[in-house]
Amino acid sequence: MSKNRVYVNAYESLSCVGDTKHLMQAIYNRESGISIDTSYMKEHKAGLGSFAPDEFFASLVAVTQNVLEQSPLENFNETLLIVGSSVGGIGKSEQHFFRDKSYKNINPKEHAISVISETLDTAFSFKDTRSLSTACTSSANALMLAQRLINLGAYKNVLVVGADALCYTTVCGFQALGVLSTQQCTPFQEGREGMNVAEGIGAILLQDVAISESVELCGSGGSSDAFHMTNPDPEAGGAIACMQNALRDAGINAEDVDYVNAHGTGTQANDAVEALAVETLFTHKPPMSSTKAITGHTLGAAGALEAIIACEVIKQQRIAPQTALSVAENTQVNLPLESYESTVKYVISNSFAFGGNNTALVFGALS
C-alpha cells in the first residue's frame, strides 16, 4: 500500500534561550540558556532551563498561534492535535498542596496531562485531540503517531505540541536519582556530572502536501529496552533497534544520515549507551551533537523541540556543534566542536525515556 508523504510545514518553539530563531543562534554560537538555581532545592545548586517569568499556559497558546500564522491554514478546525507531555499540570497541584497541606483545592482537570490538550482545544477548536505521556519520549512519540496517521490518509493536517513546565517533582526527583548537574550539562564529556532539567514548548504542523519551506518527516521507529526502569540497556540494543526501525521506515540506509541529533542528556548512563549505539550503527561517523547543552532537558517537550532543531539544520545546511565538550568519553563518535556548513539531506533525532521507551525520527530535505 502506498503511503502519503508527511511534511513539516510550520513550527515554533520556546525554551530557555527563546524562540526558534534565538534557539538556533544560541546553538550555532554555543551559548547555553542554563542558569544555576537554588529556588527548588535550597541545599543544592542545580543547572536549570527556565523561560520564566513567561506564564507557561499563555506561552503555550502564543507558540501555537505563531504556528497557525506561519501555516497555510486559516484555523485548526480540520486539524488533529496530538500533545506530548510528561508533567501536564502538576506544577499547579504542587502549589495548592504546599499551601493547603491537602488536595481539596486541586482541580483534577488542571492536574492531569490533558490540561495541555484542553487548553489548546479551548483556544483553537481542533477537529480532535490526543495526548501521549511516555516521559521523555512523549512528543517524539506524538510525531511518530502523527506520521503514521498521515501516511495512512486518516488525516491531512496534524499539529504536534510537546510541552513541559518546570516543577518541584521533576527537579527534586532527578536530584533523588543523583543525575542532576550543578552546572551547565556537558553531554558526552568524560567525567560528566549529569543533566539539566528545563521547560520547553515545541509546536509542529505536519501535512500531506509540501510547500516551498517543507522538510519531510521520512520515518520513525520505536522500541522498548525491557531492561530496567531508568537505566538503559548497556549493550544499547533498544537504542539501536529504534534507530534501525526509523531508518527502515524512511527507506534509507545508516550511511545516508548526515547528522545525528542525540538525546544526549549529560547523564553517565544515557550518553555512554547512546554513543555506543551511534558508533555501532553509523560506521561512516556522521556528526552528532546534543543540543541539551543549550536548552537543558525539556522532558516531554524534548522530542518536538529537537525535531525543530533537526528541521533547522536541514534548512540552514549547517551542522549543530557540541557545546560544553572538551574531552569526549567515546572517541569513536564524531562530536564537532564548531558549527560548519555541510550538505545535510537526512537527520536522525533520538529520544529515550524511563521504562526503556525509545523513539527515533528521520527528517529529510525535499528532493
Binding site: 500533545v83 510528561s86 501536564g88 502538576i90 497541584s93 504542587e94 498542596f97 504546599f98 497541606k101 491537602s102 488536595y103 481539596k104 486541586i106 483534577p108 482537570k109 492536574h111 492531569a112 496531562i113 490533558s114 490538550s117 485531540t129 490526543r130 495526548s131 501521549l132 505521556s133 511516555t134 516521559a135 512519540n141 503517531l145 503514521r148 496517521l149 495512512l152 490518509g153 486518516a154 518541584y168 517533582t169 527534586c172 526527583g173 532527578f174 536530584q175 533523588a176 536519582l177 543523583g178 520505536g222 522500541s223 522498548s224 529496552d225 525491557a226 531492561f227 530496567h228 526502569m229 531508568t230 540494543g237 533498544g238 533497534a241 525515556a353 524511563f354 521504562g355 526503556g356 521507551n357
Partner: protein, 214 residues
Amino acid sequence: MKMNFIVKKSAVVQADTKCETLDEKRIVPKMMLRRRLTRAARIMVYLADACDFRDGAVVYGSAFGEMQATADIVGAIDAQEPISPTAFQNSVYNTAPSYFSLLHKNKNEILTVSNGNETSRNVLQTGALQALTTQNEVLLVCCEALNIANIDEVNTCTDFLESGVALTLTPTDRSVTVTVSKCEHKGFAPALWAMLDVLSACKSHEDAVIAVEL
C-alpha cells in the same frame, strides 16, 4: 477513516478500594520485581495475563497516572524529606506498561495515552493505528489506580478507586459483526468508558469484528 479489527480477548477488573485477586505471585514470580510494581502495574499485568498477551505492541492509558508515587513525591518535598528514587522512577505515566515489558522481555513499541475523559477512546484509536502499523495483535489497557490517602478530597469521577479494562485488537478484512454504542458505565471513571463500550458489545461474541475510527 474507519478500519475493522477483531477483538479476540478482553478483561475487566474493578474494586471500591483495592483489587485483591490480581494473582501477582503466579504472574510475577520474581519477588524483587513484584515488590516494585505500582498498583496500576499490578492491574495491568493481571489484565494482560487475562488476555493471554505477552509479546507485541502495547497501548496503555490512564487519565491520572501513578497517583501514589506522585503523592509520595509531593508529600516528601513538602515535608522536606528525601524523595524515594523508586517513587520518582515509578511516577511516569508509562510505568505500568514498562513493568509489563520488563516482566515478559517484550521489546515492542509501548505508547501511553493520557487525555482526560477521552483517554480510552484515544487508546482505542492509537491501538488501532498500532495494529495497522504492525499488522499484528496489539494489547490495549486502560487503568486508574486512585486508592491513596485523602483521595476523597478530589475524587468526583469514580466509585471504583481501582479499575482497569483490557482488550486485544487484530486488523482484519472481515466485515463488522458487532456495533459498539456509547453507554454510561456507572461507577467507572469516564476515562475507561469507550473501552468498556467495546467490552460490553463484544462479551457474548467470539472474535467479534468492530470498526474503529482512526
